[in-house]
Symmetry: C2
Subunit: 159 residues, 2 copies
């Protein structure tokens, strides 16, 4: 996935996905028991600064049928900010299914620029912990940030 920016409150990390993708289907099946199995981590390594970030938290999949207004608005805005090339992938044949042999299947008419495809989902990661490792330190520095009831605390730990 590609990081698509932040969503407030709580500096949620924003991604997009197709409701027909394995990751969305997996999350939708987990919704039977929300908050237990939707734990996820996003990891970055920045080669220039030699820093590693591991952001952990819970996922929230915003589909076309979600009722929360701010979520639907963010879903719509994110769709509108995408390129035609990005948007058209949501009306391609089902991801992960046997390759379509129809040469026209991947060249459908461009979808509406304003109204998101039914397949288009926002995926929000609500950060609850951050493991930050600086390899450049002498020896190295590592901090664990933890959010409990919205309050962040920090602890220095051994790398």
């Amino acid at each position: 996935v590609v990081f698509r920016g932040w969503f407030d409150p709580h500096s949620q990390l924003k991604f997009i996905t197709d409701i027909r993708s394995a990751k969305a289907m997996s999350l939708l099946s987990l919704n039977l028991d929300p908050g237990v199995l939707d734990w996820a981590e996003a990891c970055w390594y920045f080669p220039k600064t030699r820093e590693q970030f591991r952001v952990s938290g819970t996922l929230n999949l915003i589909t076309a049928t979600c009722n929360e207004t701010s979520h639907q608005q963010a879903r719509q805005e994110t769709w509108q900010q995408m390129s035609d090339n990005g948007r058209i992938q949501f009306v391609w044949p089902t991801p992960g299914a046997d390759r379509s042999t129809d040469p026209q299947a991947f060249a459908p008419p461009a979808p509406d620029q304003k109204q998101p495809s039914e397949n288009f989902c926002l995926l929000l990661l609500i950060p609850l912990a951050v493991d930050h490792l600086e390899l450049r330190g002498e020896p190295q520095n590592r901090c664990l940030y933890t959010s409990i009831a919205g309050e962040w605390s920090m602890a220095q730990v051994n790398p």
Copy 2:
């Protein structure tokens, strides 16, 4: 983790880890029920070729007490190929514990270059599936490779 090369048979992906690290402790606790919860994925994205690889399979943690000769030999050789800077981290204070306040804790004598530290583990990922996505294609190309009883098969799927 850093990819440390291949281990044959079956082109296993080689990593190293500290037995005191969260990932090793998690795997050791899973050994009560091996083969079920040790599924893992290694993902790469190559920006120049715009290719994405997701290698899935099971993990095998090779500790100081493993009996398999070829595994112990690989563990020893990997240790010997490392730099002093890499080796010394395995005799540092416990990773993830409260930061040590002893200024000498991170400057111990260099460990033996031949005999691996007791804390030093090899981590092998036995690949059983590969999801290969080429974003450069027109539209894009995606192949799923699957190994069943050591025989690999390939299927072209929609991106």
